[in-house]
Symmetry: C2
Subunit: 487 residues, 2 copies
């Protein structure tokens, strides 16, 4: 199978050998620099020196093929994820036949769409056949309708029902993330019986650290860890050694809250039950980790107003569209700030120094406000903000901004005095700085908390909304004070 496949790949590759060399270098660079497999991860059977030397002496394409075949599927997916579009497709064509299904599960959404688009209907069909119901449910919304439909027809009715039910759940719920594979035992079995049943299987589902114990009515009554099976005498009964304190989830539970429970209780797997206590699925730590990672990176992007769907190889045009939305909002708010300054053009005409000093106020205001936003976003994502301690937080941020405001205000005043020798101008910029910094703290607190209350992502565009406010208000405070006291 492997050999036949290699032969076919050879034919495709010979034509594009130069481009291939580039891909090889890239894969090699990845392996060496990023310690993808041989660095951090030492496979005791394949010492890294052999591999590297083999690379130097053999032919390029044989190399690439060998190298790709030696990679763990998850590494293959990573290589595909970070390669530029052309190289990505070249590697993908070589590996999709054997590992296509698993790779689709590992790559990001935008790359998945790329890969799927490159396949002929037959190839896609073959790739999807490598996936079971659980896997299909996970990526179903990204697949072409017809391909999914034709794959659905070949599923068992159980799997089909599972897939249909999974698709009902919202992306941020436990139901969306759970899997159907799990091992259940009855509470009245002996450990001996359990052990015999297990030995009759060839494998257990991934991340099985515990079996789920159900009673005659199919309700979840406990959990039996593999450890407990091994640690107790075989003649004990399941109900004697099982744990009845269970961390369990409902399918409609929020995925973020479930992820926190996994972190907090150090879970590897946990049962999902319906409202009546009937076991319907299983949530595992690998899925939870992926979810957490996605959420965390989304925050960094969200603050700056970039959608998480953009990947490194989205075309310039797609990326521009992705970012344009927030940029247009930003342009609009910048126009408002500009009009605020316009209100005071007489004052500026009399004292041009104001034009040079006003961006200092706006810049410091924006950046202190961003510090507050960042702290609140972290606190929200760690579940640390409640209605009670919000008041405490407001008091504290105002205290912090008062201290920073006085310090920065004094320095700005001093700077202005050194340049313009006007004590009243110094006083105006100092006070404007203090007020703007305090305002920035309040806005920095309010923006993410209000977004969260409005059931929006608290990070989304928060940085842009904040600087819009601090710019306009900073100019207004500074130029307003200047008009009152300097004219």
């Amino acid at each position: 199978m492997m050999v036949r496949y290699a032969g076919q790949a050879l034919m495709t590759v010979v034509k594009t050998q130069d481009k291939m060399t580039e891909s090889i270098n890239l894969v090699q660079e990845l392996l060496e620099k990023q310690k993808l497999v041989e660095g951090v991860v030492h496979h005791t059977d394949t010492p890294r020196h052999d591999l590297v030397e083999a690379l130097v002496h053999r032919q390029h394409l044989a190399e690439l093929h060998t190298k790709l075949n030696k990679l763990h599927t998850a590494d293959l997916a990573h290589v595909i994820e970070i390669l530029p579009t052309e190289d990505r497709m070249r590697v993908w064509q070589q590996v999709q036949r054997q590992h296509g299904g698993e790779i689709l599960l590992e790559v990001s959404d935008s790359v998945l769409k790329h890969l799927v688009d490159s396949l002929s209907p037959e190839e896609l069909d073959n790739t999807l056949k490598q996936l079971d119901g659980d896997d299909l449910a996970y990526i179903a919304d990204l697949l072409p309708k017809e391909a999914l439909q034709s794959r659905l027809e070949t599923l068992s009715s159980n799997e089909r029902q599972w897939l249909h039910e999974s698709l009902h759940y919202d992306e941020d719920t436990v139901g969306y993330l759970m899997g159907s594979e799990m091992v259940t035992v009855r509470d009245d079995e002996s450990l001996e019986q359990v052990a015999r049943t297990l030995r009759s299987r060839t494998s257990l589902p991934g991340h099985t650290d515990k079996l789920f114990v159900i009673n005659r009515r199919g309700l979840l009554v406990g959990i039996l860890s593999l450890q407990n099976i091994l640690l107790h005498e075989p003649d004990k009964h399941v109900h004697e050694v099982m744990a009845s304190e269970i961390v369990e989830f409902l399918p409609e539970d929020d995925a973020g809250a479930a992820a926190k429970a996994f972190e907090r209780y150090d879970l590897i797997s946990a049962p999902v039950v319906n409202g009546r206590g009937k076991l319907i699925g299983r949530l595992t730590v690998d899925v939870v980790m992926d979810y957490l990672r996605e959420q965390a990176t989304d925050d960094v992007l969200g603050m700056a107003g970039v959608s998480a769907e953009e990947d490194l190889y989205s075309s310039s045009w797609e990326s521009a569209k992705n970012r344009a939305q927030w940029m247009i909002i930003n342009l609009f708010t910048a126009f408002i700030a500009s009009r605020v300054i316009g209100l005071f053009s007489d004052t500026i005409a009399q004292l041009v120094a104001l034009a040079a000093l006003m961006p200092i106020v706006a810049s410091i205001g924006g950046n202190t406000g961003n510090q507050t936003v960042a702290l609140i976003i972290r606190a929200l994502s760690l579940g640390q903000i409640t209605s009670k301690n919000a008041r405490h937080l407001v008091r504290r941020e105002i205290g912090v901004s008062l201290i920073i405001g006085i310090g920065m205000g004094a320095m700005a005043g001093l700077f202005a005095f050194v340049l313009y020798h006007d004590p009243r101008l110094s006083a105006v910029i100092g006070i404007a700085m203090l007020l703007t910094i305090m305002l920035a703290a309040v806005v920095g607190l309010a923006v993410p908390i209000l977004l969260e209350k409005a059931k929006r992502d608290p990070a989304l565009g928060s940085s842009i909304i904040l600087t819009a406010t601090t710019d306009s208000m900073g100019f207004f405070i500074f130029l307003g004070l200047a008009t009152l006291f300097l004219k």
Copy 2:
């Protein structure tokens, strides 16, 4: 033990009943709103209705005590983490005797210091006695030297040696995160023997999904999953059923890379070996998840120039000190931007409209640059940037900024024309916008990548460095063009 403890707590609490009510409300709110235990996590043995009703009818302090005692230690730690200082101490005093050690392991560094400071030397001693060598190593650098020393003397020589070795490793390495608890078996044992040995223990270390197989010389030769023990007949030998492809780490490996390996290969635990292949420790997924979480939240804070050590209840003064460093840098860069404007004060005096328009250029430049920064930080933290694809990325970002720059430049030009009816002014702002946005893309790419190359955290202050550059350069480009073409 439990009852005696409750009696003592009662005495302390009666005096401060009003403050206590507040704490109870807070804890209750947490439980209800955040679904801390009873929401997401259903303990089948204690239906939530009972608990809530019990709360309504019983006395406050008995309530708090009952409630605290029902919480999982990790939840207790969370409650302590998010309570305002006074309440935090009150809850801590009630629970430190029983759960103090575990709580210290779960809370953030700054809270840990708070908690430790509140304890008398004897109390601290008792608390530290609840921790073993692994745990102590994890928090050793945060403990008072004398307390650590006196605890060290009561450790076994093995544990002491472990602790000493762990302290040598840098915080971002596998060695720092690894634990010493693990189960090893010899490759020539039968599964029956392994099972007997396991049954002679009362428990296995947390997150034991596999045993580590060593040969006569103590070298790691394979891994034996608990599943494999259960799935195979007892007369098989370990070397027949073990896996010899092992994902293993060296203690000096980078923790971030190891975390990526855990995500990618869906690991629960993995062996740590020294250069000679001898097994020296074990890394588990719970520690890795905590590490990932910390890194992710640090990015959000780092971009805004806030140190991760600041917590919600740091005093205003501490917080101000924490943020002042970047703010002073920011003030300095704002002064530079101000001097750039100062260079053009003659031009502004002739055409005050420039003062009103110039912040538009700077604001849009800063925000588009931040979008690039956010994308690059995500890509760096996902290990997606290599020297080869960096070039591709530069090309793409320049493409994106060209599209956005032309769009934004046109809109800004139109806006200026509507207000000031001066086609030359419109052209100047449009071109300045385009150039500033393109510059922002290049700086947004360069800042995190250069920070990373300089072995600094790529997120740290990147947003502040970026806006400093885009402000100064944005003003320079706009006012410079205006001076050339409008005077």
